[in-house]
Each structure stands twice: as structure tokens, then as C-alpha cells.
């Protein structure tokens, strides 16, 4: 039997392009400036957030505007559990951040998943904003200004303090790259599994899934929690990399930005949000160079891409394949 998993590359070319992207990311820091190394690190962290959201959007058909809240919450967890003087090691902060994000997702998901479509969008937005205001309006995490982590990442990786300045950004860069790669592989395996088939069925026709015997609420909630935990891993990496937190990390703009990245890269593939995040970051840099109206240029370019390529940038690799196979393929 020859069933294909929808969100994965459908051709050898697709897999090759993906491997080439990985190779470029592995090599990049040796060819670009410190500034650009850090920029790509930030883009990969955004890619993780968008990828985790893709499990809901492209994987299950659930569009959430509260997803960024789990990301921001996880970043605050790193701040809150890190003592002033010394940083905690990553094997403590990462599980803690993912756990708190997962619990928050369990709470938000168990209530919001009782609604559908537009109402789901609004309920997740409301929950996200509640978490936002907890940190915005209280002194818990430095209020509106946010706060700096006493000693971020550097300590966490032990030896990296001794590195010459030129090599210091490499630590976070490769940690982010490894996490992003693991997240992709994990989600690819998930989508190929029997569990992934259930998500695909829910996305296509949830009513029918219930009628053939699936408790779809339970599977959607499990997925919502997994996605929340992965958003947490992304937020954790952000705190580690940038060394400060502020309420903006939690606001709904984060979710909207991640949705834009998915749209830009392609709704129909797991690689979409990664390509989308890299393209979005590059676009931001570029438009900053050529114009003062950065947001306007960004908006126009994204609009143009979405109109010309309804399946996003990664849809380009697929179109050729579909033409080769013909309608019966």
C-alpha cells in the first residue's frame, strides 16, 4: 500500500531540499557574521513556535490565537526559577518550562476545545490575553518592562564561558538547531503514526470521525497539550538565547506572527512553518534595509506570496510532482 503522509514531503526532491536546508543551517555560522548567527538563532526559535502551532493548524485543523501564550509563559518560567547569581542547567529549565506550558495548555484546551471554528479562535485568544495580563499587570515578572535573567545560557552550558567572543553565539545556535530538528523529526513520526491518522481525519471531517467511533475531543486535547509543550520548548530557548522576558512574548501578536509564518511557508507541510519563519525573518531584515515603512513592505510581500502561492513557499516543491504524476497519480 502506498499511503502518503500529508504533511511530509511527497517526493525524493522534497526530502533532498529538506536535507539541503539542514546542511545550510549546520554550515551557516561559519560563513556569516555574529549578528547574522544570532539572527538565524532567533529565526529558528520562531520556527519552533510556528512548527508547534502547525501541529494544530495544518495537522488538526485547529486555528488557535492563544498558542503564543504557552511560549511566553515558558520563557517566564525560565526567569522565575533561575536564581540571580547562577543559571540553572538546561536539563532543569527545559522540562520545567515544558511542563508548565503543557499544564496551561491542558487547562486552556479542556475548555476551549468544547467550541469550534470562530468561537475556538476567540476563546483561545481570551485565554491567551488572560495569561498576558497576569504578567503585564502584576510585578510577578517585572511588569510591563519585563526582566533580565541574572545569568542566562552561558552558565548553563558550562564550558562556553571560556570560548572566545567569536564563538559564543554558536552554543545557542546549535542548541536551537538541534531542538528544531528533533521537533521536526518527532512531529513527522507523529503524523505518520496511527495517532497522526486520527488528527488527519479530524482535520478533514471531525463529524465523520466521531461517527466511526473516535472520541475526537480526547485526541484534540492530547494534541493541544503536545503543541503547548513544544511551544514551551521554543519559549524556553528564547529566554536562554536572549536573556530577558517581557509581556510581549505572551501577547496574541506572537500567535498571529506564527500563523503568518505558517501561511508564508505553506499550510500543507511540516517544513512550511520552518521555511516560513526563515523567510519572514529575512524579509524583516531586508525591508528594514530598504525602507522606513518596514511593516507595510512586509505586509505587501506576504500578501503577494499568499495570493500567488496559495500553498506557500513549500508548495513550490510539490506542484511539479503533482504535474508529473497526472490526475490519476
Amino acid at each position: 500500500m502506498n499511503e502518503q503522509t500529508r504533511l511530509l514531503p511527497h517526493s525524493r526532491l522534497g526530502w533532498l531540499l529538506l536535507a539541503a536546508l539542514l546542511a545550510c543551517l549546520v554550515a551557516a555560522p561559519h560563513f556569516v557574521s555574529i549578528y547574522h548567527t544570532e539572527l538565524i538563532t532567533t529565526a529558528m526559535i520562531a520556527a519552533m513556535l510556528a512548527l508547534s502551532l502547525q501541529l494544530l493548524v495544518g495537522g488538526t485543523g485547529l486555528v488557535s490565537l492563544g498558542h503564543g501564550a504557552f511560549y511566553g509563559l515558558a520563557a517566564y518560567v525560565v526567569y522565575l526559577i533561575s536564581p540571580e547569581a547562577a543559571a540553572r542547567p538546561i536539563w532543569q529549565t527545559l522540562p520545567a518550562a515544558m511542563l508548565v506550558a503543557g499544564l496551561a495548555a491542558l487547562l486552556v484546551g479542556s475548555l476551549s476545545l468544547r467550541t469550534k471554528g470562530f468561537f475556538f479562535l476567540m476563546v483561545t485568544l481570551a485565554f491567551g490575553q488572560m495569561i498576558f495580563f497576569v504578567f503585564h499587570d502584576t510585578k510577578l515578572g517585572g511588569g510591563t518592562d519585563g526582566a533580565y535573567l541574572g545569568k542566562p545560557l552561558i552558565q548553563a552550558f558550562g564550558a562556553s564561558l571560556d570560548l572566545p567572543r567569536r564563538q559564543r553565539p554558536l552554543g545557542p545556535y546549535y542548541v536551537a538547531l538541534i531542538q528544531l530538528t528533533l521537533m521536526y523529526v518527532g512531529l513527522a513520526l507523529l503524523m505518520r503514526s496511527l495517532f497522526g491518522r486520527i488528527l488527519e481525519g479530524i482535520r478533514a471531517n471531525e463529524h465523520r470521525m466521531r461517527a466511526i467511533g473516535f472520541d475526537t475531543y480526547r485526541y484534540k486535547l492530547t494534541t493541544f497539550v503536545i503543541a503547548g509543550m513544544l511551544a514551551g520548548a521554543s519559549g524556553h530557548m528564547w529566554a536562554m538565547h536572549r536573556g530577558f522576558v517581557n509581556p510581549e512574548l505572551i501577547s496574541w501578536h506572537k500567535s498571529a506572527e506564527a500563523l503568518l509564518m505558517i501561511l508564508l511557508g505553506g499550510l500543507g507541510s511540516l517544513a512550511g512553518p520552518i521555511v516560513g519563519a526563515l523567510a519572514y525573518t529575512a524579509l524583516g531584515e531586508f525591508s528594514q534595509l530598504v525602507t522606513e515603512r518596514k511593516l507595510l513592505v512586509e505586509g505587501l510581500v506576504i500578501l503577494a506570496v499568499v495570493l500567488v502561492l496559495p500553498r506557500g513557499l513549500t508548495g513550490l516543491a510539490r506542484r511539479r510532482k503533482a504535474a508529473e504524476l497526472g490526475p490519476d497519480g
Partner: protein
């Protein structure tokens, strides 16, 4: 009279359901015996599909109960009733259009037959589910269309696929809502042969408008009019029932 049909596998007692002011189901008490083909007929809007939805759990009754093999399942949600052996097909074809026929049926098999431990295993390795799906497809007469994308199948083949999906959940009771709807003559004959074969090892509740067919295959019939049971009995008894002739069969010209 009912006792002659043996104990009921599926039974409703005083089932009622209204939508706003409209009573779609009024005080319906019916019984479906094991191995029986029980046809429910009635004019458009009589409440036949509503009855199926109440039995499958898609709708909750305003009052009354549904019992399966003596157990009260009135409060069970749809997915739990499937696991108890109730499967239904839809009047309006309801399939996963972008998936292959095989994947449609494999999902149905997975819903009931996948072990929880296998959930995170690769779907390709779940051979047992694939072979269950192939068996169900073959039973519904679709064995050579298994690789076709469901949305590209002919209308008749899509109706067969609906039935294959119900079969893959290994049901005891089949609720079939107008399986012959919109079929050509040849396709219709194929499905009616299939229904006759299926009735040997399933209890079937069949909603159908084709009277010639219904009177030929049914063991028992219920006539619904405006949500209520107007008459029930063997096909012969229903055919000669004066109230039925007046209220329903007469109106069919």
C-alpha cells in the same frame, strides 16, 4: 406478537425529540431483533433520519430511552455506541473525500480495533487494520477500488464505501439511512444484494423509499408519520393496513 420475534437487540422506549417547536420524534417505541432486517418507511420529514440520529447518539432525546442488548445506552456519546456495536451510514454521503477508499475504511477499523499501545506506531505497519479494511471493502464490493481517492469514486461506489466503513467497525447493529438514495438501476441492484447478504449476520435498521425493494426484503416494518409510529408489523400486515394505505401509500400514487 413481539415475543415471537425474540428478545430485542436494540430497543427504544417512548423516544421523543423536538427541535424548537417541531416534534420530529413522538413517543417512538421500536424493537430490532438479532438477525432482523427492520425497515422504517415514511414520507419526507417523517423523522426517519432523526430516529437514526437518536439511535446512533448523534442526537440526545428529549425523553425516552435507547437500550442495546438490555443495557441503557441513552446517555452514551456517538463514539462509545460504535464500540458497543452500533454503526450507521449517512443519507447524504459522508466520507473522507481526499483519502483513498482504503484509508477511509482503515480509519473506521482503527477506531474500534486499534490497541491503545499501538497508537504511536507507524500507520503503515498496522497490517491487521489494513487487512480488516480490505475485508470490509471486499464485502461491500469495492476490492478493486481500494487505491482510488474516495472523492473521485462514482456516486454508487461512494454509497458502497459508506457501508464498508460501517462494516469495518464490526457492528452488531447497522443503521442504514437510505443506502440506495440516488443510485442508478444497476448500482441499486448491487447494493440491494449486499443488504440481503448483510442481513444474515447483522441486525439492520433500514430507511428506504423504494417500496418494491422494502416489501421484498424486510422482516419487519415500522411506518412513521409526522414523527410518530403509525403502524408496524410484517410487510404483509403493513401492506394491508388501512391507516397506512390512507396516510402514506395512497399519497405515493
Amino acid at each position: 406478537m413481539d415475543d415471537a420475534r425474540g428478545s430485542a437487540l436494540l430497543e427504544t422506549r417512548n423516544l421523543c425529540r423536538s427541535f424548537g417547536g417541531v416534534s420530529a420524534t413522538r413517543d417512538v417505541s421500536i424493537r430490532l431483533a438479532p438477525g432482523e432486517l427492520h425497515a422504517v418507511i415514511g414520507p419526507n420529514g417523517a423523522g426517519k433520519s432523526t430516529l437514526v440520529n437518536l439511535l446512533s447518539g448523534e442526537l440526545a432525546p428529549s425523553s425516552g430511552t435507547v437500550h442495546l442488548a438490555g443495557e441503557d445506552v441513552t446517555r452514551l456519546p456517538v463514539h462509545a455506541r460504535v464500540k458497543h456495536g452500533i454503526a450507521r451510514s449517512f443519507q447524504r454521503t459522508n466520507i473522507f473525500k481526499d483519502m483513498t477508499a482504503l484509508e477511509n475504511v482503515r480509519l473506521a477499523a482503527q477506531a474500534v480495533h486499534a490497541t491503545p499501545g499501538s497508537l504511536f506506531r507507524s500507520a503503515w505497519r498496522a497490517r491487521d487494520l489494513v487487512s480488516r479494511a480490505q475485508t470490509a471493502l471486499a464485502r461491500a464490493g469495492l476490492e478493486d477500488r481500494s487505491a482510488a481517492i474516495a472523492g473521485t469514486l462514482s456516486h454508487g461506489a461512494q454509497r458502497q464505501l459508506e457501508i464498508a466503513m460501517t462494516l469495518a467497525t464490526s457492528p452488531k447493529v447497522l443503521l442504514l439511512d437510505e443506502p440506495l438514495a440516488g443510485m442508478g438501476q444497476e448500482e441499486g441492484l448491487r447494493i440491494s444484494a449486499l443488504l440481503k447478504a448483510l442481513s444474515k449476520d447483522h441486525a439492520i435498521l433500514l430507511i428506504e423509499h423504494d417500496m418494491d425493494f422494502v416489501f421484498k426484503v424486510a422482516d419487519w416494518m415500522t411506518v412513521l408519520v409526522e414523527g410518530a409510529v403509525l403502524a408496524e408489523g410484517t410487510p404483509d400486515a403493513v401492506r394491508t393496513n388501512a391507516a397506512v394505505r390512507r396516510a402514506y401509500l395512497g399519497a405515493q400514487r
